[in-house]
Symmetry: C2
Subunit: 250 residues, 2 copies
């Protein structure tokens, strides 16, 4: 509900100022989540002039590791994974991304990871030089970008703890909790969790094998912490016990 009214206000502002804010932005569900948030309508119109939109099918790659990083993206719908590959096929998923998330703005000239759609997804694409320029011009945009990057860092630090020091079961518990907290679109009205990714993706994210992921889910199910899969959604029976497991004993 709050989302809808925010969009309506955005539209009115744009109309009042007579700026050529595209309808896509005015109606954008993730506008108040993305780096666009905090920009005034004129600034947004300026930014929007350089936008192209892109729709992705499941499994489709948005960009590849070591490709030149010519575009920056905001996820507007669906789910995206980023990952690094080794020559022998080992894979590490570095993160899952949902509506409002910013991806493809690395330090260097090339993308350090590959980005691939997990579900049908849409992204807004900006030319990177444009973003650099606008960041210098609009402090609100700079602050929004900084906030996104800070979030990425904090989340990565938590993930390092998980990968380096947690048992398989603890990692799974922590993963489910982080989805509950940070991915509202994965949480159904009944409180269950729609995992947008395969077991293999979870395994590659948590540094485990599919078998170990599967066994850990079974353990949690037998312990009564989660319920049976119902149409690809996991019931969370006890969030508290999940939290206890995630942080370990003692």
């Amino acid at each position: 509900m709050a989302h809808v009214s925010a969009n309506v206000i955005g539209l009115c502002d744009a109309a009042r100022h007579g700026s050529h804010l595209p309808l896509e932005c005015a109606n954008c569900v993730s506008r108040h989540l993305a780096m666009c948030a905090g920009l005034n309508p004129d600034e947004l119109a300026h930014l929007a002039r350089h936008i192209t939109r892109r729709k992705l099918d499941p499994g489709q790659t948005l960009f590849r590791e070591s490709d030149p990083a010519i575009s920056v993206f905001t996820v507007t719908s669906g789910a995206i994974k980023q990952y690094k590959l080794l020559a022998d096929g080992r894979c590490q998923v570095t993160g899952f991304y949902f509506s409002g998330d910013l991806i493809g703005l690395p330090e260097g000239a090339d993308y350090p990871v590959t980005a691939e759609a997990l579900t049908e997804a849409t992204v807004c694409s900006f030319p990177r030089p444009r973003i650099a320029e606008l960041v210098g011009r609009y402090p609100a945009l700079a602050e929004a970008v900084i906030l996104k990057l800070q979030r990425e860092v904090t989340s990565a630090q938590g993930q390092m703890l998980s990968l380096g020091r947690l048992s398989a079961e603890e990692r799974i518990a922590g993963f489910l909790l982080s989805l509950l907290d940070r991915a509202p679109e994965c949480v159904n009205v009944d409180g269950s969790l729609s995992l947008q990714m395969r077991r293999a993706d979870i395994a590659d994210y948590l540094g485990l094998t599919v078998e170990t992921v599967s066994r850990s889910f079974t353990k949690l199910r037998n312990a009564g912490v989660i319920g049976a899969d119902r149409g690809g959604a996991v019931e969370i029976l006890s969030r508290d016990r999940l939290a206890d497991i995630a942080t370990g004993p003692a």
Copy 2:
């Protein structure tokens, strides 16, 4: 050499403009590395007005996980580690920081990690609200902060790959390489590497135990990739073979 002349120029600029740029900044070794880089002397003077400096002894903590994040820091000398602790004592080091690095600028109100000095170290401390304000005012500062955060994200992604998918030996090899690349102050004139941290810190960074770290060093030594410890410095005998090991076979 280049560093010295840069400092001299900085001093001259400040004098010419008549701004009250403190001597500490004018002579700062890490000025061209830190977020201060790119600021003109007046901007730097403005930023410097809010600086306090702090000297840390080995083992001294700069801030603690879940403390309110009231200050942001730039490392100006020495080595700092950041880490997360679990209730049962398990520890994950999330990063090592050297001259020019920015720490303590998280997304939320509290620090998500603890920062502790490994060696004698000095830091510049800025009040966080001030930084937020100046980031909005000086685009060059915003860009510098963004660059620092991007670097942190890229490095974290590499670390996730290491923790999630590499063997003990591969992790050690990758760790040595990253120090060679990213920590110039650890590299001696003879090309050897002064590890500023204990085996326990390396273990907690790489998600291993001290014993495994020690065994991996021994293996690399026996393989002729690194040389014997000489006064706490590791000789790098073959950087190429180190790189081969770090990325795995095939």
